[in-house]
Amino acid sequence: MSAARIGLCALAVAVLAAAPWFGSDVLVQFGINALLLAVLAQGWNIIGGYAGYASFGNSVFYGLGSYGVAIAMVQWELPFAVGLAFGVAMAVAFAFLLGLPVLRLKGHYFAIATLALAQVMIAIVSNVELAGQNIGLVLPPLNNDPLFYELALGLLVLATLTVYWLTKSRFGFGLIAIRENEEAAAVMGVNTTLYKVLAFALSGVLCALAGGIHAYWITFLDPESAFDISLNVKMIIMAVFGGPGTVLGPVVGALGLSVVSEVLSSEVTSLASLFFGLVVVAAVVLMPRGLADVVRRFRKSGWRYFAENIRAHRI
């Protein structure tokens, strides 16, 4: 990355960090959501974008992180930070225990197995007394949105730096090799099992942290909302929209889609979901390689970029 790019990113972070001081409450709220979603997309990016494993289990990590905070704070009356640590510990344990068998599966089969795990978690947690069963847990409210906002932003920066590190490290390069051809990677000395599990866990830690922050912020948690599969779909959509396997793509994708959907929800309120669907469809047709690719190529080919995309990908 060039010095100019680093400077630009630092500036963007600074502006974002300052938002609570000049932005409205609504903006800050929107920011918390959008930033947390960006963390999720970035977390998914590690296992999905870099290692090439389309995980539908990341919402499990998110849920574990949420419950970590909720259980610690409500049942044990421990501080928030301890709750986060507890959630992360559960996520890591989950990644290792279930990642080992499930990461042996390839492609769609992996996707579906992880999807199943999320379903199973709902039923399991519904029967755990400590987790409040179906009734859920109600957290003590903390009226400090700017704090949540800065936490979310900090987490996003952490997530993005992690991904940036991936692109420079032996570990990250190994993941890319696994994505491109796992068998070839293995015969060249990449410990594929270990790398995949580590990627799953790393991705899980980020999602768990996001879940923990969200739980404290929204103050209420039940199994359905904690392990919501559609959240996982959202992560994928956002990462793919921005460009999976790139450092900034998922962030740009998540923030971009959040803005679109927010504007739609407040401007055309009940038509919002229709337009949102249409935007997604159009985006795939016009820019199938994600926003990151548009940014890279648009300067060179201009509007022709979109026409060329269609020509290149249709039959």
Partner: protein, 242 residues
């Protein structure tokens, strides 16, 4: 000279088919061993057993005195077993250079990604792909991919190199080049197992030649003697060579 690889009674079955059937042989350090045999004889399967992409149904594989039959592929790679794939396995979305850098970063190597890329460049030049370094691997033609396979394996700094038809698709002049490359590798101390259907090449390269047929070893010995064997001619070489 000591034995680097010892295969004993290796067998591999695929649903009802015995692709490799009780094959035993040894490979000495610094030796080039050629393997030939009709299509579907089990040559590639044998290489997969050694490299760990397939596990043997029975039998043992000893590398540098250690049994590796149960080890996963990456452990064998780190011990120094490198292979190429007959049906090429490039990392399609990566540049040609990065393909090789994977080998230079893993295998028996240590160090940073930047160093690995540096070393990879040398290997690319060595196999004559230098000018394609920044192209995507899936834009290479067939023979280009063959060379890439070789460069990827070399970058791992293997002690034992398993070459599965790296000369297929090359013309005579290019084949002579690759023969030169392989000899140089051997001279640098690497032991080599070559599978090839190009008789001229295998004959001039191999110190010893082994013939598989229906998964069974049917001949093992000096190249000239093996190639003059009636059974080998009938099953493999054809009457033009008789």
């Amino acid at each position: 000279m000591s034995t680097i690889l010892e295969i004993s009674h290796a067998t591999r079955r695929f649903a009802g088919l015995v692709a490799v059937n009780d094959v035993s042989f040894t490979l000495e350090e610094g030796e080039i061993l050629g393997i030939i045999g009709p299509n579907g004889a089990g040559k590639t399967t044998l290489i997969s057993l050694i490299s760990g992409t397939l596990m043997p149904s029975s039998g043992d594989i000893v590398f540098e005195g250690q049994s590796v039959a149960g080890l996963p592929a990456y452990r064998r790679a780190r011990l120094g077993i490198g292979r190429t794939f007959q049906i090429m396995r490039p990392f399609p979305g990566l540049s040609v250079l990065d393909n090789v850098a994977v080998g230079a970063l893993f295998g028996r190597n240590e160090g940073s990604l930047a160093e690995a890329r540096e070393r990879a460049r040398g290997h690319l030049d060595f196999v004559g792909l230098g000018r394609f370094a920044s192209q995507r691997a899936d834009e290479l033609g067939g023979p280009g991919r063959k060379r890439l396979e070789l460069a990827k394996a070399l970058a791992m700094r293997p002690k034992l190199l398993l070459c599965d038809e790296v000369m297929a698709g090359l013309n005579h002049v290019e084949i002579d080049e690759v023969i030169g490359v392989i000899r140089k590798l051997r001279d640098s101390g690497i032991s080599i197992l070559v599978i090839e259907h190009v008789i001229k090449a295998i004959k001039s390269l191999s110190d010893r030649l082994l013939v598989l047929h229906h998964g069974v070893k049917i001949a093992d010995g000096a190249p000239d003697a093996v190639l003059a064997d009636r059974a080998v001619i009938e099953a493999y070489l054809g009457k033009r060579r008789a």
